[in-house]
């Protein structure tokens, strides 16, 4: 045997292959960069900026300048740091709500598809029922229920763990929204995963795994669910901007996060009030919001192309 053959490459996984394909997709790469930079600004640079809640009525509606880079709002608060802090909430809402909904969706859909029959019928009828109720309406109700609980948690943390009250409130104040969205966003994903599992469980490798003596649940969690991850990841990336939009919608309606938190939705809502006199209050948050959503959507598209093995056999 020659030396060339002994030097075989280590195995490449489907994910590695996908990454190699993704690297050729310039738009997707640019999207990753844009999103990373946005996150970096919102979560790192923001700590070195001005206090987003410091009111200065003398200086309200100041235009862009050296003191306030892109001006101040109606209460004289620095718009730049308000956008960054608002971005924290908006991005986290997207990520946390997606994580919650993906976890529920995968497990629910996989169990329904795997066990089939009556269990499947009942589980999927529940999904159908939930689908038929207007999404925003349940979010609002659920959020109200969860808020009660979040206030209690907040009080408990402040009393027992001696956390800073302002900081604790900031966190517990947004959690109900995160979870309300996440607890309802899993319906479509559950259907996608169920359909996947239905076809996967007939595949021969599942039979082969069973013939090795693995238990049903081991087969499901070790062999079937990992095979559904491709479509799941694509769907999840595309739901992140969806959740950000929902948060913006709710905030615009005055049902989203509350002060002292802000989010891009709230900034846009406030900016819209001064559209004629001070358009920059709407334009700057709007631009950042749109760019981030564009980037996330292109990233989802890129992932879909990269993970589709049939699309590119190069």
């Amino acid at each position: 045997m020659t030396d060339q053959i002994t030097d075989t490459e280590a195995g490449t996984s489907l994910w590695k292959d996908a990454w190699l394909r993704m690297r050729k997709n310039k738009i997707a790469l640019a999207s990753i960069m844009v999103f990373t930079v946005t996150c970096f600004f919102c979560f790192v640079i923001a700590w070195f900026c001005k206090d987003p809640n410091q009111v200065n009525l003398v200086n309200k509606f100041s235009g862009p300048g050296s003191e306030h880079w892109i001006g101040t709002d109606a209460l004289g608060r620095d718009l730049f740091s308000r956008i960054l802090y608002g971005g924290q909430v908006s991005i986290l809402v997207g990520l946390i709500a997606t994580a919650v909904s993906v976890t529920i969706g995968i497990i629910y859909g996989a169990l329904a598809g795997f066990f089939g029959g009556k269990i499947d019928a009942i589980m999927m009828r529940i999904v159908d029922t939930l689908f038929s109720i207007p999404f925003l309406m349940i979010v609002i109700v659920l959020q109200a229920v969860l808020s009660e609980w979040s206030r209690e948690t907040s009080a408990w943390i402040v009393n027992n763990l001696n956390w800073d009250k302002g900081f604790t409130d900031r966190i517990t104040n947004v959690l109900p929204l995160f979870f309300a969205l996440g607890l309802l966003g899993w319906l479509t994903l559950a259907r996608i995963v169920r359909a996947q599992v239905l076809s996967l469980k007939e595949r021969e490798f599942v039979e082969a795994a069973t013939s090795l003596g693995l238990s049903k649940l081991t087969v499901l969690f070790r062999h079937i669910i990992p095979n559904t991850l491709g479509p799941t990841v694509i769907y999840a990336t595309l739901t992140v901007p969806g959740f950000i939009m929902y948060e913006a919608t709710l905030s615009y309606l005055g049902l989203g996060v509350e002060s002292p938190n802000s989010s891009w939705g709230i900034l846009i809502k406030e900016g819209a009030n001064y559209l004629e006199t001070n358009p920059q209050l709407l334009i700057f948050p709007g631009i950042i919001f749109s760019i981030t959503l564009f980037a996330l959507n292109f990233l989802g598209d890129g992932l879909r192309d990269a993970l589709d093995v049939r699309a590119s056999k190069d």
């Binding site: 489907l14 021969e204 090795l212 062999h223």
Partner: protein
């Protein structure tokens, strides 16, 4: 006492279009270290009988109606329940499947798949399981097993994957290996290699093999005893040499006649006319009657199903006067 004795196994599928009698009273036994073959057309019930043994059938619609499968004197595989069956599957009875392209999980490295039975049944730690897995891949003729084991299934060719499957099925030294058409999806040169490999590993490990195929050439190559299945029943059984030299049942004779190599060049190839009977209908007489050209169709039983009898010493067949003449 044989290692595995299957008696009167009946597996029916309860579908919307009625009851499909996929396996309708099959009996056979497997001796330690021997190879038996089960041959039949598609839909004759050969795979279903073996899937029934390991509880791999989807239930419902599948249902085992009756029968027993006594494994190693005490365990009845058909009634022992999922828990006991799991300790048999992959440890004492291994299985290889038809299509090596789809029988490995595409998202898992070969290493993680091949050590699964070791971790599960032998309680080995990862390190020693990997060592044993590399050795097992070496045994089935995979070059550079220590590199290859880190790869994913899509990086292997079909023949190589079937080798991996064989290594995986035999890694726990099972007493029986069920091979469900392991060469059907492979091309002829690879078929020969895989058959030789199964024979070699069988000799080394003393495993009994149940070999399911529709390929008579493969059967003559590997099996000691041959069962011919038709419409959910075994219609003829004999040793491979006896069966090929002296086929008795009209179906067996038609099958042998259909092999292109046995026919005169330049003439139209012989095929068995018609299709296997629809097993969702109740068959009252000889199941092969309508397709019987070689025997005497007029003498075939019409009112009762022929009995499976020892018609010559160690040569069993369905006793239908039309088919045996």
């Amino acid at each position: 006492m044989p290692l595995l004795e299957v008696n009167n196994l009946k597996t029916y599928f309860h579908t919307r279009n009625g009851i499909v009698r996929a396996v309708d009273g099959v009996s056979f036994s497997v001796e330690k270290g021997k190879t038996i073959g089960i041959v039949g057309e598609s839909g004759s019930g050969k795979s279903v009988s073996c899937y029934s043994l390991l509880g791999l059938l989807p239930m419902p619609p599948g249902r085992i109606e009756s029968g027993e499968a006594i494994f190693d004197k005490y365990t009845d595989l058909l009634s022992c329940g999922e828990k006991v069956l799991r300790t048999v599957r992959g440890k004492r009875i291994g299985m290889i499947f038809q299509d090596p392209m789809t029988s490995l999980n595409p998202y898992m490295r070969i290493a993680d798949q091949i050590i699964e039975p070791l971790r599960l049944h032998m309680g080995m730690d990862k390190g020693s399981a990997l060592k044993k897995a590399i050795h097992a891949l070496d045994e089935v003729g995979i070059p550079e097993p220590d590199n290859r084991i880190t790869m994913y299934p899509h990086e292997f060719s079909g023949g190589m994957r079937q080798r991996v499957m064989i290594a995986m099925a035999l890694i726990t030294n099972p007493e029986i290996l069920i091979a469900d058409e392991p060469t059907t999806a492979l091309d002829v040169t690879i078929q020969k290699q895989i058959l030789d490999l199964i024979k070699k590993r069988q000799k080394e490990l003393g495993t009994a093999v149940i070999f399911i195929t529709h390929d008579l050439a493969v059967i003559s190559e590997i099996c000691e005893d041959v069962n011919i299945m038709y419409a959910g029943r075994i219609i003829e059984r004999a040793s491979a040499t006896e069966l090929f030299a002296n086929p008795r049942h009209a179906y067996t004779r038609s099958l042998l006649k259909s092999i292109p190599a046995n026919q005169t060049k330049g003439e139209k190839l012989y095929t068995i006319p018609g299709l296997p009977p629809d097993t969702s209908q109740i068959i009252s007489g000889c199941a092969f009657r309508e397709r019987n050209q070689i025997g005497d169709q007029s003498k075939c039983l019409t009112d009762s199903r022929p009995e499976f009898k020892e018609i010559e010493p160690n040569h069993w067949a369905q006793d239908c006067p039309g088919c045996l003449s």
